[in-house]
Symmetry: D2
């Protein structure tokens, strides 16, 4: 049963630089290696990179999509969830994560950071919006996933 695993959300821009793509891929791979499930928004950029990494690591990926068409999902998503909620799906990404790792992104990412902190879920920041001391800052992908696992064990 996948449901007993830890669900780790990865958020970040739908477009991103190669450096950020690499970083997100490493985060995704380490999530899978830790036996956790990746939850993301299912589209491109950071979401695609994290999903690609998670599949490389042998994990399972859930993509919570804004539209009603599951074919919108990037190629590395195992389980697409078509919401038809538009940006409202951002909240569902957070609701389905036990802990969230935020990478660089724009205002959509900021809305997700807001929701995550509002719900009191642990949030790890990796070179992202620096808006709150409630966000734990990580140095690199390895550090971020380690912190996520530690936090969710304390929190859950």
């Amino acid at each position: 049963m996948q449901k007993d695993k830890i669900f780790i959300g990865v958020i970040g821009g739908g477009d991103c630089s190669d450096d950020v793509y690499n970083l997100a891929e490493q985060v995704g791979e380490r999530i899978a290696q830790a036996g956790a499930i990746l939850v993301c928004g299912g589209l491109g950029g950071v979401m695609e990179a994290a999903s690609k990494g998670a599949k490389k690591g042998g994990g399972t990926t859930i993509g919570i999509l804004p539209g009603i068409d599951k074919s919108q999902a990037n190629s590395y998503i195992d389980i697409p969830v078509a919401t038809g909620l538009g940006e409202g799906r951002n909240l569902l990404v957070i609701r389905n994560s036990d802990v969230v790792i935020a990478l660089p992104g724009k205002y959509g990412t900021l809305s997700e950071i807001g929701f995550c902190l509002a719900l009191g879920k642990p949030m790890i920041g990796l070179s992202t919006w620096d808006v709150s001391q409630d966000m734990i800052k990580a140095e690199d992908a390895e550090d971020a996933v380690k912190m996520a696992l530690t936090k969710v064990m304390k929190h859950g």
Copy 2:
């Protein structure tokens, strides 16, 4: 990749008789045996029975939940999706299904039948609300899953 598989929704009451439970379990098992993924509302009754059957058949089960807590899902759900939308999750069950099989249920099931027909998705009825000629009536579990697969291939 699970995303390339057919997603079959099963809808029906959160409480049900033993007969309906058995029927839903058979439907779930045949869905899994056909290599399709089961989508349901993730709770008890018909949803639980179909999920139980799908796991018996070696399949994957997605439970789209009304609340925000994935532990709400029945024991046979692999991928719980916590929506926090209340009854609004009924629409997401339909949106995530390529075809829907309706079993006996109450008014929540009726709302899902309405959505499914409104979206023009193929709908198979098995001893359920008899509200439309656009619903295809099946005789038993085997018949229902066969019809679902036939319809989704024509429709998709």
Copy 3:
């Protein structure tokens, strides 16, 4: 304060015959004359007719829209509410109504009838889907609005 008034939902097809349009207009007018607020889906057909009638009767009209653009609302809506939820707005129409009057409509209307009955809210049917004994059948517009007011007073 409008909030202390009774909110009466009117549901029905986005396209309708002239006869149904006239009926919906009468329903809307009587809702306004009774001092209640009209809630509807904000678009054409039955929704437009009921809104037109309510404005003729000097009332207030709320249109809960599927899209994100409030200009989608028909000309008789005072307060458009842009949800961006697509058909998911059907549930919000019901949630915002103390009692619902259903006129002829297609599957979207059926989903709303399902939700209304699922939420246990009083539902008055006027020449619409005949799916449940929990729906109270009215003869004409006057009868429907009278029943709605009676029911909401008992229910509230």
Copy 4:
């Protein structure tokens, strides 16, 4: 028809200091005096203060609520909209505003700022989260409402 008016969103904390309450009340009053409609989250703190000010100024107030019970709305709301979407209603507050004025608030307010900027709607900040140069900073209530009106005219 209210629908032809400008809809101005006011966002901010559900709890606030007396100073912020006074500021929000002034903002609400000036919105009403300008002939615009106030959209807010319908609860306490900044939302209540802005609604109170808008009613003092003779305006109309819409409260888009997280729950399913319209009685949740503060006493100054004319039109409560019960969404049942929880924090998801934050997005609906933004979707229903032509321009948004942000006052001090916590993480819920941050999620709304993120959504507003993501949707490319003009956003006026009044002593709130300083997260983006796309947010226009105002000095006081008068300034904020003036800027909001100017921006929405250019933007619309």
